[in-house]
């Protein structure tokens, strides 16, 4: 029996709408569940006190600081490399073997599982470079992980800068360097910032790679060589060890709120960029 075109269209449409709604429901059920359970736990003390008794009581201030520092190291190190790569790919060279190799490397890096980054960071930064389990080891490992994201988003952003901008610069006698720093980079900035924001989100959410490289102490870090336990790792340990479900939910809620804020920031930038660009 053949189903006529209109009926099959109806069936397909229903299925597609169901799938889309299903995904939305799953997403919101996860987020809302964590927020409902966790937000009541978040208080001023929770944000500012050091964890006590393995995290059973007290707050998570040292984890928040650790998360911020690991993320900062990663972003500060990866951004210049990422933007530099993007500039090289777009401004200094034609498509050829070199760009192919660089792109292949970046895309391959993007696909490598975080646990493999963790293994590498552990053997290279922690052991070989003797940095120990530290914010620095964790941050540098994360820097490598976010490098492809920054390269890709920066490259896309730079490519959308109209060629006219560069040509006007050159015709006024500007060097390539001047054209890049004075016109291309400023107009590509929103796109580049988006990439950085996405990367921050990734650093905050990462667990496996950070656990193997930054350690798991609950003490407040005193230097970049101090070990730390980021919020995602703290949540994992609290929930896994069953130390304190209340504080686990609190930490998870805070993580989700951070990710939400990062995403909102990203979308606001995209909207501004789009409305400005067109």
């Amino acid at each position: 029996m053949r189903i006529d075109a209109q009926t099959s269209q109806k069936i397909a449409k229903t299925l597609i709408w169901t799938a889309a709604l299903f995904v939305i429901v799953v997403l919101f059920s996860i987020i809302i569940y964590i927020l409902i359970k966790g937000i009541p736990m978040i208080s001023w003390q929770f944000l500012t006190e050091i964890p006590r008794n393995m995290g059973r009581s007290g707050g998570i201030s040292s984890s928040i600081v650790g998360t911020l520092l690991v993320t900062a190291v990663a972003v500060i190190v990866a951004t210049p490399f990422g933007i530099g790569t993007a500039i090289y790919l777009t401004e200094y060279t034609r498509e050829g073997r070199v760009t192919r190799i660089i792109r292949f490397s970046a895309e391959s890096l993007a696909g490598i599982p975080s646990i493999v980054y963790g293994l590498f960071g552990f053997i290279f930064f922690v052991i070989y470079l003797k940095m120990g389990w530290s914010i620095l080891s964790g941050g540098l490992t994360m820097a490598i992980m976010i490098l492809p994201t920054i390269i890709r988003t920066s490259e896309e952003a730079i490519r959308t800068v109209p060629n006219l901008y560069r040509e006007v610069g050159f015709s006024l006698g500007a060097t390539k360097w001047q054209a890049i720093t004075k016109t291309v980079l400023p107009s590509a900035l929103p796109g580049i910032v988006n990439g950085v924001i996405l990367s921050i989100g990734r650093c905050v959410a990462e667990t496996a790679a950070v656990m193997l490289t930054a350690g798991s102490t609950l003490r407040m870090p005193i230097s970049l060589l101090s070990p730390t336990r980021t919020m995602a790792v703290h949540f994992y340990i609290l929930a896994r060890e069953g130390i304190s479900m209340e504080n686990a939910y609190g930490t998870a809620a805070l993580l989700i709120i951070l990710i939400l804020l990062i995403n909102v920031g990203f979308n606001m930038l995209v909207n501004r960029f789009v409305s400005k660009g067109r």
Binding site: P80, W133, L136, S223, L225, E241, G242
Partner: protein, 265 residues
């Protein structure tokens, strides 16, 4: 620009690295870690100018860390192997190992060889050991964990834990699983047992501090602090605190059995 940032980063690093050496680093067994944290917290209240840094990593990692002196004290939740005996070590407490099941499970007691047969996979149904008819869901710890090696040594002997066993990487997750699954069985530290799970008797003997101290309950293991050479300075002071009446009381309040080396008994 990036070079500038790198330079700043480097200088931050070197500026900071000078002060980070002052803390006593204690690393190793995640089973000992919670108790060490409690001790360190109290110790740092009493001696406000000293810093003690507790890291996980597992027993083997802790012993290696003590050997290479990347940690001042290594924590181990298993006895030292022959090749590790050159280290200085002291038992800070003993810990009981208990088999736990869901409270809905009618079973109260298992014999040692029944436990072994369950974990080798010979016994697969609760009815074979006097329970209701249902598949046994076996839970073990991961390779390398002190809890697993203590269990293997004390219960399994030469036999092997079946590969079909579910493997979890912490005492807590073993407990959560058993609390949620009426057919599960697992083993954890005595000190961590709460009322969401039921601790089984072994050969008719209940796992209590007294029964472990008088050796009638067989499943117990030492919690060790190991150092390279006789401890000195802050390290010694912290170990002394651990073995003091006060330190031992803290540990037994957390569910451990006082050490024979300590001043608690």
């Amino acid at each position: 620009m990036s070079i500038m940032i790198l330079t700043i980063l480097m200088s931050m690093m070197s500026a900071c690295s000078q002060e980070s050496g002052s803390a006593t680093i204690v690393a190793g067994s995640t089973s000992v870690q919670p108790y060490a944290e409690v001790l360190a917290e109290e110790y740092m209240i009493l001696n406000s100018n000293s810093e003690i840094d507790i890291q996980g990593g597992g027993s083997s990692a802790g012993i290696t860390a003590a050997q290479t002196q990347s940690a001042d004290i290594g924590m181990s939740s298993r006895a030292l192997k022959d090749e590790e005996k050159s280290l200085w070590s002291i038992e800070i407490a003993r810990d009981g190992l208990v088999l736990i099941v869901n409270p809905k499970n009618p079973l109260e007691n298992l014999a040692l060889d029944q436990i072994r047969n369950i974990y080798t996979g010979i016994i697969t149904d609760w009815s074979q050991v006097g329970g209701s008819t249902a598949n046994i869901h076996l839970i073990a710890r991961e390779e390398g964990s002190g809890t697993r090696s203590a269990f293997t040594e004390l219960v399994m002997g030469e036999a092997e834990i079946t590969p079909k066993a579910i493997v979890q990487d912490s005492n807590g997750s073993v407990m959560q699983l058993v609390a949620g699954d009426p057919n599960a069985i697992g083993f954890i530290s005595l000190g961590l047992v709460n009322d969401e799970v039921k601790a089984l008797h072994l050969d008719g003997i209940e796992a209590t501090a007294e029964n472990i101290m008088n050796d009638s309950y067989k499943l117990s293991r030492p919690f060790l602090f190991v150092t390279k050479g006789e401890p000195t300075g802050l390290t010694k002071s912290f170990i002394d605190f651990t073995l003091s009446l006060e330190g031992q009381e803290l540990l037994s309040k957390e569910g451990l059995i006082p050490s024979r080396e300590g001043k608690g008994n």
